[in-house]
Structures are given as structure tokens and as C-alpha cells.
């Protein structure tokens, strides 16, 4: 399909990008890897007047160890995230989930920030963001603000980013020692988005689960925490009680109906997959 015409702008600094975005007005969009935006343009589901391509803005790219957190620049590609030693060491859940995104071609173009800014609940990273309580660093011509993951995803494909704002990067808190991680993705083909996904971080000590963080992919218009499960596993033995806890995975969710699954099946999957993810995470504590 062929997109409608648009202006194309390519800034080389963040300030320049913000200025261009402001000048281009309401109908301008930020272009990162283009792997979510371009399909929308080609299907004529989006008609931006201008695209501001932030792909050459060096300060938006890269991973840094910042003591209590890892900072991931918005335009860092999925592939760079997967292969970053810092990410692997301090927030392995991010690497595990990112490795399941599509295929190598997509991972070399698609970006960490683009995936989050796109706010697709079927994307693999938003649920990880809420599970790990990431913080979003957002720039605008008037300054900088941070938004917690819990406040970033507002609705289906709608984030807290205002027109004119650019997501510069994301802070991923380090959880410290004793945690195990797993991302369980259920999809119909290797390149397909998750029918349902479950991101889990579990802290174990002396055979019981002290604490768990569970994020759900594609179980509603926004990524959600399975708080019922988190509550139920606290202090549970890492055995049959995990299955029971996982039985609460779909509490409070509002899963979509589409060609790949009806809501009742998604609810069922969420329960089964959460159990599997808890088992895996509890079996492999790191650090």
C-alpha cells in the first residue's frame, strides 16, 4: 500500500528534533525504527503531515549503567538491547522479552523507545515496563519530565506523550540479588505478536517466594500487572501453590477478541502461562 504524502525531517540533536517537531505542528510524528508507524501509514490508518526522524540523534541511543538503574536510550534497537552486557547483567527480563520480538530483521530496525511510545498492549516490552516499574524520561521544548510506567500507558496505542514531546530514554531499576526472571510468550508463528505474554520477576529465599512482579501482554487495552497473582504468591512455596496463584492471572483484565483468540481463551492462556512463567523464574534465580 502507498502512504499519503508527508514531509520528512531529519534532525541530528535532540534540541533540533524538539524544535522541528514544534514547528511542524500537531500533525507531526516522531519516526524511530518505523516498524509500527510505517505500516499504519501504508494502510492509510495514519496521515501525519510530517515525520521527524530521530534515528540520527546520537544522544537518544545507547545503554548506560547509572548505579541504581540502567538507562536505555529510546532509539537503541532491539538487537542492541538483546546484546547489551549491561542489560543482561542488571535487567535480564528486558533482554529475555526483547529477544522474542519478531525476527532479526525487525530487531535491527525497531527500537526500545518506539515500542514503548507506540503503546501497543500486544508489544512485548510494555508489560515488562510495568512489571519492572520503569521510568520514562520525556523531553519537550519547555523541559523534561519523568513518567512512571504505571502512568505511561493510557489506552490502546495511546501513551502519556503529548504532541511535541519526545521520549528520550527509560530508566530500568535494578532489582538486586535473588531475583529470577522469565518472559513467557504465546504466539502462533515465530514472527507474530503475542496472543498473550507474561513477564515475571520472582525473588526467592529459603524455598518460598518472597515477592513477585507479574506483567501481562495483550490482556487489555494497556499492559497490566497481575496484582492478584503477586499477592497470592507472596510467601508461597514454589510448588503447587504457584498454580493456584496463577489461577488469578486474569483477574481484572479485559482481553481483546481478534482473529487469533477470543477473550475466554486469552484468560485461560494467561493462567496457564503465568504458572509456567512463575515456575521458570523461581527455578533460575540470578545474582
Amino acid at each position: 500500500m502507498i502512504p499519503a504524502s508527508f514531509d520528512y525531517l531529519r534532525p541530528s540533536t535532540l534540541d533540533e528534533a524538539l524544535t522541528m517537531l514544534a514547528e511542524a505542528g500537531e500533525d507531526a510524528k516522531v519516526l524511530a525504527g518505523g516498524h509500527s508507524l510505517l505500516p499504519l501509514l501504508r494502510l492509510r490508518l495514519a496521515y501525519p503531515a510530517a515525520l521527524v526522524d530521530v534515528g540520527r540523534v546520537a544522544e537518544l541511543r545507547g545503554v548506560a549503567d547509572r548505579g541504581d538503574h540502567v538507562y536505555i536510550g529510546a532509539t537503541t534497537t532491539h538487537d542492541e538491547v538483546v546484546h547489551s552486557p549491561i542489560v543482561k547483567e542488571h535487567c535480564p527480563l528486558v533482554a529475555l522479552a526483547t529477544a522474542t520480538v519478531a525476527d532479526p530483521a525487525v530487531r535491527h530496525r525497531g527500537t526500545f523507545g518506539g515500542s514503548l511510545a507506540h503503546a501497543d498492549p500486544a508489544g512485548d516490552l510494555p508489560s515488562v515496563a510495568v512489571a519492572l516499574d520503569m521510568e520514562f524520561v520525556v523531553h519537550s521544548p519547555t523541559g523534561r519530565r519523568t513518567v512512571p510506567a504505571s502512568g505511561f500507558f493510557l489506552d490502546y496505542l495511546e501513551s502519556a506523550l503529548e504532541p511535541g514531546e519526545i521520549l528520550a530514554g527509560v530508566r530500568v531499576p535494578k532489582l538486586g540479588p535473588g531475583w529470577g526472571f522469565h518472559y513467557e510468550k504465546f504466539h502462533r508463528t515465530a514472527q507474530a505478536w503475542a496472543t498473550v505474554g507474561v513477564a515475571v520477576a520472582v525473588r526467592r529465599s529459603n524455598g518460598t517466594v518472597e515477592e513477585a512482579r507479574v506483567g501481562l501482554t495483550n490482556m487489555g487495552p494497556i499492559p497490566v500487572r497481575a496484582s492478584g497473582v503477586e499477592e497470592a504468591v507472596r510467601g508461597a512455596e514454589a510448588g503447587e501453590s504457584l498454580r493456584e496463584a496463577a489461577g488469578r492471572a486474569d483477574e481484572g483484565t479485559d482481553p481483546p477478541a481478534d482473529l487469533h483468540a477470543q477473550p475466554d481463551y486469552r484468560r485461560h492462556l494467561a493462567r496457564v502461562l503465568t504458572h509456567r512463567a512463575l515456575l521458570s523464574a523461581a527455578a533460575h534465580p540470578t545474582g
Binding site: M1, I2, A4, R42, D103, F186, R188, L259, H260, Y265
Partner: protein, 790 residues
């Protein structure tokens, strides 16, 4: 048979049978070639089609004037504008005398009957301007009721797709006493299977470039059938056949979807005629999903009568075939290609087949890889498994009790086809050994015992198929509009190189390589010295093109025959030059030699001599070349045994293919690498039907699967490593002993996979899962069984 093999050996040489890499691949893979969309002509205009958003509606007003005001737009037309000249798209297979073939305007004039039907077009200076201007065309529709379900469509009072009603035809075939066979039959299996609608997804989308100098017309199209297309377009557009040249440049796949005379081809010709400038149209993937003719979509009711030991008495089939909104080139014939295949490799006393073609407000269906035979093979192979389960016998054993034994060939089946050769025992034995059948059965028993949430299933498909779509006389008896012969010219150039012109039209099959191998052996020339020309009606004046796994079994034989003629001519020249009797001249490895002497000439020397023509036998026409047209006596019948092991996760419903073994018998093999490629791709496509692909229309008749995010195609990551092997039982009906391999994998694999899934779930009371067997469907099937037994 021995005679045939002798003739094959007479080809001598080391090329046939060699796993050559394909000579066409470098340019195809790098894209450094003339794909139709790569063609740029001076002054070329671009066409975009506005397509109906309604499944069924009356067009009450079209106003394209808004588009004309858009930048870059040169012209815009509605169906009404072209009504006087656009004619009706052809259907070349009127299967019965009373078949209803509705008028099929390339662009809808007053009624639309499926979402995606062209209703207007814009011609502009580039693709973007054309696409943008579509938004300015105004069309008013008055909605009519969609017709989406075949069974409902046939009921009294259903909304009608066409004035004449929703039934196109009913076609019947019967042999033997079906009533007697079912009367008192100890075992009767009665099943209904859904062959879901599929969307052929060639890698290269369709593209058309049409041009004219005011007198001559040239149409470039990404088509499988340049020759047939030329005839049909001449008949449809009124452009005289001798003024129309059709070129299929390199074509990136078709799977049957480019065996068609499309609305876009006709309209581009009309537009270039009107405007006097070259025009181009290239579809987008989403446009393609809507408007490439779809495949399968049949509702199969199959009944099987058997003795209590599992010997089959009879099969009865009642089929509804969804034609979609119109009959396209061979739409109604597709189920007939399966009609003779429901007996599979099995012996029986009676067979009864009825097929009704039904109109719905959906994209028309037509040929898709296998065309009719995958449907038939699926039904019989599924039912053989059901029979085995019913009588408690291993499904392979049930097949053994029924199949035609090697010693019984040639064998005339209940469908009146004479299978010339086959060895089901050999292929099966090899497959079982490669698969480790007994070991897997033991593991299955263990998992069942343990109530393992992941169950193992084993699926069998002992298939055969008919291909080499051929004898013209038989095609005629089935009312098909064209013949089944194929043509080749072989010419030796003065420098000793060889040009082969083939009437086949490869679109990924590797004919340039395979034909070169055949010619190299036959004429004793180096493989590198052979060029193969195809796909252009100006250079290839006779041909029937490529579909139905016919190219090697029919077109390859034409090449062999033309080579034989060339050699015979050359022998006379050699004898003349060597002052010997032609009878004393022997040919071997490219050299003519007088028996018992050392005197000889190479075939290249003879070629040069016929060019100079200074000293030729009396009456010899200069140049060393010959043509041959081959019309075989019969179809060919590849067969094989495919075995599939799946693991089904009963908690999520997900199926994972654990191992897949294919032992195919496609007769003699010209190039094992090409055969392997066809088998791999074929199996992948068959697995895709079993597990992934389905074209879905909603209740209003909108296609929901318009992108690859919704219409799921598996990639290599979703498929296991196939274990493939071959047995070689040469066909006796052609001198190469070849059968055809283009569709075998697709035909075989779908039932192997579904049989495996059902086998895994039989302990849960499951005896069918509708295709595609998605995790959700498997899960729901299991759940409904649980609820039933609770």
C-alpha cells in the same frame, strides 16, 4: 517398462540426475532482472483501482471528477465508462451443459459482488498520485444482502448473488453399485470436512505493464500463462491475436494464482488502447489478499463403507464448492480435478461423487497448488484414519489391507484412471524406517498412560496424485477449454551453442536448469552451452504454460523429442560429410562416428556445417534445429508416504511438529536439488493449511485477513527440519520416466499433520479438529469433549 528405461539410459550423459544449482538463481535472488514492476517505459502512466468496500451492493452513482482535479491525474474511469469495450472475463471450463456462467465485467458496472471488486480506476503520472486520487472518487452504494454460507445460499429464499440464483452447476460421477456397497456394510464412516479458504501468497505480487504503438500491443504480466493469456485476451478485448504479444518476464511464484485472466490485465490493455501510453499496475499485498483468486473453500461430506476387517467397499462424496462471486478461468473445474482422486491408492468396488458449485459474495476461487487433489487426498486420508480407529487397527495396517499392490500395476481404479506404475510398499517401508514408527508409538503409549499434558500423535498420509495435466482428449472429455500438449524448439547455433525455446512458463521451478541438463545429455553438449528461452509469445510461439505439475512430464518430453529430431538430422549430415551410410553412423557423447572407423564429426561441427550450408545432403534445409509437440497418452501418478509426529500441548492447545518424514516417488529425477526444493516448499504449504492459513470474512462479507499479521504464513522458524527421501518407480508413459513434483508435498502433508493431531487427542474422545488447527481451536475441541463427558 524396460523399454522406457532403455530409452532413458539412451540419453546417456552425466547431467540428468545431477544436483545442479539452478542457473537462474543468481539473477532471481539478487533481483537483477526484469520483474514486471522493474519495467520503466518512457511516458508510462500508473493505474490505481478503487475497490468495493461492500460485499454486495447496487452502484447508484459514480463521480470520478474529483479525482481528475487532483495533481498528477491524467484520467479516471468507472465501470460504466468502459462498459462498451471491457467484455466479460472468461471461464474456460464449463463443466456441465447447464452451468450458470454469470457475466463478469472486469470493472463492476451496476452491482458489486465481493469486497475488493474494482469499481473505478485512476490513471496518473506516478503511483502515489494515482493512489492519493482514489480518495476523491465518489461512489454511492445501495446495500444488498451478502451471501456468505454455501449451505444457506442453496436454501429457498436466500438472497441471490446473481439473478439466476446461487447454484452454478451440479456435476456427478459414479462407478459401481454404491447402494449395494453401503447396504449392510459392517462399518460406515460418515464425516464432514471443511477445506478452509486460502489465499495464494506468491512472493512477487501481481504486476502488469501494457503498451501500444497504436497497432501492436504488448502486455507484460506476472503470469504463469502467457500463451493462454494471449488467446483469452484476444477473445476478450477484441485486439487481434496477431497484434498482441504477451510476455511473462521473470515471475516470482504463482502457486496457481497466476493461472488466470485477471481484470487488471484486461483493464490495463484497454487503458493503454484508450490513452496511447504505456500503463503500469502493481498490486500491494493487501490488495492482493483481497483480489488474487482464492483457493480451496469446499465443504466435503464423505462416507466410507467397509468390511469389519477394514477392507473398503465404497466411498461416497458430496461436495459443496465455493465459487465466490464469479467463475474465473478454471474455477468450476477445480473440484473435478479432485473427483478422480478420492479413491487414493485404494481398491474398492463402488464410488459416487457429486459436486455442486455455489456462488457467494466473496472473491472467486480457482487453482491453488494441488487444485482439487489436496482436498480429495485430505478427505480420504482422514477417513482411512477414522476407519482404523473405528475397527481398532493400526492406521498403517488398514492402508496395507486396501492399497494397490506393486504386482497389480498397471491398475485401473474405480475412478477409471489407469495408474501406470507405483510401489506403495517400498515408499512406506522406507518412511517407517526413517521415522522410527514403532519407537514413537511406544512413546505415545507411555505418554497416554502417564496422562502427560503434552500428548504425542502420529499422522500418516499415503497419497497419490494425478499430474502432468495432459492428454488433450481427456481434458476435452471433461469440457476443459484448452489442450494439454506442450511444445519445444531446439536449435543449434553456428558456434555450437544451443537455444531451447519452451512453451512452459517457469515462475520459480528452475526449467532453465532442468531443460539444460536434459539437452546436455541428449545432444552431448556442455550444460553451460544451453540457453532456455521462455515466457514471450514472440519467441515462444506455441505453449500451454506451467501449472498442474505438467512442465517436466509434458514440456520436458517435448524437449527430449525435439533433441531426438535434431540428432537425427545431424546424423544425416554427418553421414554425408563422412561419406558413410546414416545407418553406419553412431552418436555418442556429442560425436557422430562411422562404425568401425575412426572418422567422426562433433555435433558442433555439424551445426556449423548446416549454417555454412556449403555441402549438405540433397534436399536438406539449412540449420540444425527441430521442434516437437508432445501430447501424452495419460496423466502421471506420483505417490509417497509422509509421516508426521506432533506434540500437542493439551493445556494451551498448541501443536508442535516434532518430526516429519517424506518419502516421495516422483519417478525418475532430472535434478534432485530441484525436487528437494519442491518437496520442501510443498510440505511447508500443506502444513500451512493444516495449522496456520485461513481467509476469514466477517458476517458482512469483509475480508479480515488482508495483511500478513492476520493471514498467517509460517516461516522457516515455524517448521521442523524435514527428512526427505525418494523411491524411484519410473512412469511408463513417457520416455524420461518422470512424473511431476510441483504439488506432491502440498497434497500429502495436510492430512499427515491433521491425522497426527487427531491421533494425539483420540484418548480425549476427539475425532476431528477443523483446519487450520489453531491452538484455540484445539483447546475448544478438548474443552467441549470434557464438557460432554462431564
Amino acid at each position: 517398462m524396460t523399454e522406457q528405461i532403455k530409452e532413458r539410459e539412451a540419453l546417456g550423459g552425466a547431467e540428468v540426475g545431477r544436483a545442479r544449482r539452478r542457473k537462474e538463481d543468481a539473477r532471481l535472488i539478487t533481483g537483477r532482472t526484469q520483474w514486471t514492476d522493474n519495467i520503466q517505459l518512457p511516458g508510462m502512466l500508473h493505474v490505481a483501482f478503487l475497490r468495493s468496500p461492500m460485499a454486495h451492493a447496487r452502484i447508484t452513482r459514480v463521480d470520478a471528477s474529483g479525482a481528475l482535479a487532483r495533481p498528477g491525474v491524467v484520467a479516471a474511469f468507472s465501470g460504466a465508462d468502459l462498459a462498451g469495450e471491457q467484455g466479460s472475463l472468461p471461464c474456460a471450463w464449463p463443466v456441465t451443459e447447464d452451468i450458470v456462467i454469470p457475466d463478469h465485467p472486469p470493472m463492476a458496472v451496476d452491482e458489486v459482488r465481493y469486497v475488493g471488486e474494482a469499481v473505478a480506476c485512476v490513471v496518473a503520472i506516478d503511483r502515489y498520485a494515482a493512489a492519493d486520487a482514489l480518495e476523491a472518487v465518489e461512489i454511492d452504494y445501495e446495500p444488498l444482502d451478502p451471501v456468505l454460507d454455501m449451505t444457506e445460499a442453496l436454501k429457498e429464499g436466500s438472497p441471490k448473488v446473481h439473478e439466476a440464483g446461487n447454484k452454478s452447476f451440479t456435476w456427478k460421477f459414479a462407478e459401481g453399485d454404491i447402494d449395494a456397497a453401503f447396504r449392510d456394510a459392517p462399518v460406515v464412516i460418515d464425516r464432514t470436512y471443511v477445506q478452509q479458504r486460502l489465499i495464494p501468497s506468491a512472493m512477487e505480487p501481481r504486476a502488469v505493464v501494457a503498451q501500444t504503438d497504436g497497432d501492436q500491443f504488448t502486455l507484460h504480466s506476472s503470469t504463469q500463462i502467457p500463451h493462454i493469456l494471449r488467446v483469452m485476451l484476444a477473445l476478450t478485448t477484441g485486439i487481434p491475436e496477431h497484434k498482441l504479444r504477451v510476455i511473462a518476464p521473470d515471475v516470482g511464484g504463482g502457486f496457481g494464482s497466476k493461472l488466470q485472466v485477471t481484470a487488471e490485465e484486461v483493464l490495463c490493455l484497454l487503458l493503454t488502447r484508450r490513452m496511447g501510453k504505456p500503463v503500469k499496475w502493481t498490486e500491494s499485498r493487501s490488495e492482493g489478499n483481497l483480489t488474487v483468486h482464492h483457493g480451496r473453500d469446499q465443504l466435503q461430506h464423505i462416507r466410507l463403507a467397509a468390511e469389519s476387517d477394514g477392507r473398503v467397499r465404497a466411498v461416497q462424496v458430496d461436495l459443496l464448492a465455493d465459487m465466490g462471486a464469479y467463475l474465473m478461468l478454471v474455477t468450476p473445474g477445480i473440484p473435478l480435478l479432485g473427483a478422480f482422486m478420492y479413491s487414493g491408492i485404494y481398491k474398492m468396488d463402488a464410488y459416487d461423487f457429486t459436486c455442486t458449485g455455489v456462488f457467494t459474495t466473496k472473491m472467486p476461487t480457482d487453482a491453488y497448488r494441488g487444485a482439487g487433489r489436496p482436498e480429495a487426498t485430505y478427505a480420504i486420508e482422514r477417513v482411512m484414519d477414522e476407519l482404523a480407529a473405528e475397527i481398532g487397527v493400526d492406521p498403517m495396517e488398514v492402508r496395507r489391507r486396501n492399497w494397490i499392490e506393486h504386482s497389480e500395476f498397471p491398475y485401473t481404479t474405480i475412478c477409471n484412471l489407469t495408474y501406470d506404475s507405483g510401489n506403495y510398499e517400498a515408499a512406506t517401508e522406507r518412511a517407517l524406517a526413517l521415522f522410527g514408527y514403532d519407537k514413537l508409538r511406544a512413546e505415545q503409549a507411555d505418554r497416554r498412560e502417564r496422562r502427560d499434558p503434552v500428548q504425542l500423535g502420529i499422522g500418516i498420509s499415503t497419497y497419490t496424485e494425478m499430474c502432468g495435466l495432459a492428454p488433450s482428449r481427456v481434458l476435452g472429455s471433461l469440457s476443459y477449454g484448452a489442450g494439454g500438449w506442450e511444445h519445444a524448439d531446439v536449435r543449434m547455433l553456428p558456434t555450437g551453442k544451443v537455444e531451447v525455446v519452451t512453451g512452459t512458463s517457469p515462475h520459480g521451478q528452475g526449467h532453465e536448469t532442468a531443460w539444460s541438463q536434459i539437452v546436455a545429455d541428449s545432444l552431448g553438449v556442455p550444460y553451460e552451452d544451453v540457453a532456455v528461452l521462455h515466457g514471450d509469445t514472440a519467441t515462444s510461439h506455441k505453449g500451454m504454460d506451467t501449472y498442474g505439475s505438467r512442465s517436466l512430464a509434458v514440456g520436458g518430453i517435448a524437449v527430449v523429442r525435439a533433441c531426438d529430431k535434431v540428432k537425427e538430422k545431424a546424423r544425416h549430415v554427418a553421414a554425408h560429410l563422412l561419406e558413410a551410410s546414416p545407418d553406419d553412423v553412431e552418436f555418442s557423447e556429442g560425436r557422430f562416428q562411422v562404425r568401425g572407423t575412426g572418422a567422426s564429426r562433433t555435433i558442433q561441427e555439424i551445426a556449423l556445417a548446416t549454417f555454412a550450408a556449403h555441402d549438405l545432403p540433397d534436399g536438406f534445409e539449412p540449420r540444425l534445429d527441430a521442434s516437437a509437440t508432445f501430447d501424452p497418452d495419460s496423466f502421471s501418478f506420483p505417490h509417497g508416504t509422509h509421516l508426521c509426529a506432533v506434540e500437542v500441548d493439551t493445556e494451551t492447545g498448541a501443536t508442535a511438529i516434532r518430526s516429519y518424514v517424506a518419502v516421495d516417488d516422483v519417478g525418475a529425477v532430472v535434478n534432485p536439488l530441484i525436487v528437494e526444493g519442491q518437496v520442501h516448499g510443498g510440505i511447508a504449504q500443506g502444513i500451512a493449511q493444516a495449522l496456520f492459513e485461513e481467509a476469514v470474512y466477517d458476517v458482512d462479507g469483509n475480508l479480515l485477513t488482508t495483511t500478513m499479521a492476520d493471514y498467517l504464513l509460517p516461516s522457516a522458524a515455524d517448521l521442523p527440519s524435514f527428512v526427505t527421501d525418494r523411491t524411484e518407480t519410473p512412469a511408463t508413459t513417457n520416455p524420461l520416466g518422470v512424473k511431476g513434483v510441483g504439488e506432491a508435498g502440498t497434497i500429502a502433508s495436510t492430512p499427515a499433520v491433521v491425522n497426527a493431531i487427531v491421533d494425539a487427542l483420540r484418548p480425549y474422545g476427539v475425532h476431528d479438529v477443523r483446519m487450520p488447527c489453531t491452538p484455540e481451536r484445539v483447546w475448544r475441541t478438548l474443552r467441549s469433549r470434557e464438557e460432554e463427558s462431564a
